[in-house]
């Protein structure tokens, strides 16, 4: 999944000489919290609702008046990303630098924006269900060919995998969560166990007395 698949485009941007009160109104009207700041087509900063609130707070040593310019308060030279970046790179940047948005640039021009909420949407999409399917979770050795062994097992049974998510589970293993278009995941799990797979879901049922 790439940034272009989840970014909001076009982004609402404002110019550096906008007054704080007008930036605030734009955020309120649009229901957004992050605004790229531009001079002509060039990105010069980012201003957030938090920047505005802190800058104008009565608790600040010398609060900015509402008529101040955005350029006085904004974050300069903000971090950016490109539309072709993988979503996880954008997420890592935002997490490591503890920031809420990334303007998306193309040839130095702002073409979109990604916020924390867009990343949550991406997570929901990646883990979500939009076709009738059941869950299968398998722990695989972290070796070449293991995932292929699992998917090969499924394809021989004519089963359709709607989504697949794999992440590191331990030093030598990965956990793979699949959504498969079948009612008969439990029966499949039994077959997989017999074939030596470490099936985590569905688990074996407590045995009848």
């Amino acid at each position: 999944m790439l940034v272009r698949d989840i970014m909001r485009s076009p982004a609402v941007a404002i110019s550096a000489d906008t007054m704080l009160q007008d930036a605030y109104r734009t955020m309120q009207e649009r229901g957004i919290r992050h605004l790229p700041v531009v001079e002509g087509e060039k990105l010069v900063g980012v201003i957030t609702d938090r920047d505005l609130r802190l800058a104008t707070s009565a608790l600040a040593p010398s609060p900015f008046p509402p008529g101040s310019r955005v350029s006085e308060v904004m974050t300069r030279e903000p971090l950016t990303a490109e539309a072709s970046d993988p979503v996880e790179d954008a997420a890592r940047t935002m997490r490591e630098r503890k920031i809420g948005c990334l303007p998306i640039l193309d040839d130095g021009r702002v073409i979109g924006i990604v916020t924390g909420l867009d990343l949550l949407d991406a997570l929901i999409r990646m883990t979500g269900v939009d076709k009738p399917s059941g869950r299968l979770e398998v722990r695989l050795p972290d070796h070449p060919g293991e995932l292929a062994r699992l998917t090969g097992f499924l394809s021989h049974r004519d089963l359709n995998v709607h989504s697949i998510l794999t992440y590191p589970d331990g030093p030598d293993s990965v956990r793979t969560v699949l959504r498969i278009g079948s009612m008969e995941i439990r029966l499949l799990a039994e077959e997989l166990r017999r074939a030596g797979f470490d099936v985590l879901w569905p688990p074996e049922k407590p045995c009848p007395r």
Partner: protein, 379 residues
């Protein structure tokens, strides 16, 4: 006396000997009731007509089922959910599926014409079928077709789905319909097929707040199940004031079911059926139509559905299963059929985190009621 609807032609709805949705299960129910000395009088329906199907299904979909049914190739069948691992195609599938629809529809007509209050359709309950997609062993949606027939006759319908899988097809087809309340209890879609049935799926348009889902934790036991059923269903019925109940009585929430993870016992099912009949008396002047549904344990499903028959007829559930019946059907079953009608108590090994499971189910039920109340009491 309740009407029991059944036709030998229901047996033709079969995806092959290896497939879980086996007509043998109904054979076992009828044979068990006979072995107990009950003379089961059944009403034979007509198969549904093509016209009946088009009330709910797209013409393009029905055409493809008909073609496959006649043995003709349908290159894009998979796009319609046909010829898949779950729902393979077979010769005569169109007619076989129309028989099941016809049975449920006949039950609906008996009720809307005022000829019957309690009806048991010994088949059907194909709640996964979509307008133009077969899914999860279901070709035509007999329930949605029968419910539409009831609402066309001016009846408000409360649909209760106790199959362990979410009743996604029925919900989707009736999602905007203000004359139909749907309540589905199922193992959470986070784990089990079909994946939907979250509490936020509340209906849309005029149907908003009338489609209710109670996704339950894996390994939920009967006590917790009955608690949340009681928490939600009477409240919804009191608000909606239906004229008739339609119940999809899948038996696959039983602990012995091979396809899913809930832990109900036959005693829990008996309690559930008694509660539903009491609600029918309280809210719909006794009008209730039961269908079968999922239920893939040969040891459990026939007993659950025989209990449904007995409870509906105010007959006792005796202690022992008839020896002759067990001999006849034990066949290759491993383990064998139990000796008693009800499951032993305790019936299965302890669920270590049962209190946590019950707690989470309770919270889900509370959140569901919180979400629906804003729609129920906004006027």
């Amino acid at each position: 006396m309740p009407s029991v609807i059944y036709a030998p032609a229901y047996r033709k709805y079969s995806f092959g000997d290896e497939h879980p949705f086996s007509p043998v299960r109904t054979d076992m129910v009828l044979d068990l009731l006979g072995a107990l000395g009950h003379r089961v009088e059944t009403v034979e329906p007509e198969p549904a007509t093509r016209e009946d199907l088009l009330d709910v299904h797209e013409d393009a979909y029905v055409c493809r089922v008909e073609k496959l049914s006649a043995g003709a190739p349908v290159p894009d069948g998979q796009e319609y959910g046909l010829g898949t691992q779950d729902t393979p195609s077979f010769p005569g599938m169109d007619e076989a599926a129309r028989w099941l629809v016809g049975g449920t529809l006949h039950g609906a007509r008996l009720i809307s014409e005022g000829r019957e209050r309690r009806v048991l359709q010994l088949g059907g309950g194909l709640h996964h079928a979509r307008r133009s997609v077969a899914s999860g062993f279901c070709i035509y949606n007999d329930l949605a077709i029968a419910i539409n027939s009831l609402t066309r006759n001016g009846l408000k319908v409360a649909y209760l789905d106790i199959d362990v899988h979410h009743g996604d097809g029925v919900q989707q087809i009736l999602y905007e319909d203000p004359r139909v309340l749907t309540v589905s209890l199922h193992e959470s879609g986070k784990y089990l097929f079909p994946g939907t049935g979250e509490i936020r799926e509340l209906g849309s348009g005029a149907g908003r707040g009338l489609k209710l889902n109670l996704p339950l934790e894996p390994f939920t036991e009967g006590e917790s199940y009955l608690e949340v059923l009681e928490q939600v269903t009477p409240a919804a019925l009191r608000h909606f004031r239906p004229d008739v109940l339609v119940v999809q009585a899948g038996a696959d929430a039983h602990f012995d079911d091979p396809l899913s993870d809930l832990m109900l016992t036959t005693r829990d099912y008996e309690a559930i059926f008694r509660r539903i009949l009491a609600w029918a008396d309280d809210f719909t002047a006794g009008r209730v139509l039961f269908t079968l549904g999922g239920g893939y344990s040969f040891r459990a499903a026939p007993r659950v559905w025989a209990i449904l028959y007995l409870v509906m007829h105010d007959l006792p559930v005796v202690r022992d299963l008839p020896e002759s019946w067990r001999k006849k059907w034990n066949g290759a079953l491993d383990p064998k059929l139990p000796e008693t009608f009800h499951d032993p108590n305790p019936s299965h090994a302890d669920i270590s985190n049962r209190y946590e499971i019950a707690h989470r189910n309770r919270q889900v039920a509370e959140r569901l009621l919180d979400l629906t109340r804003q729609y129920w009491f906004q006027k």
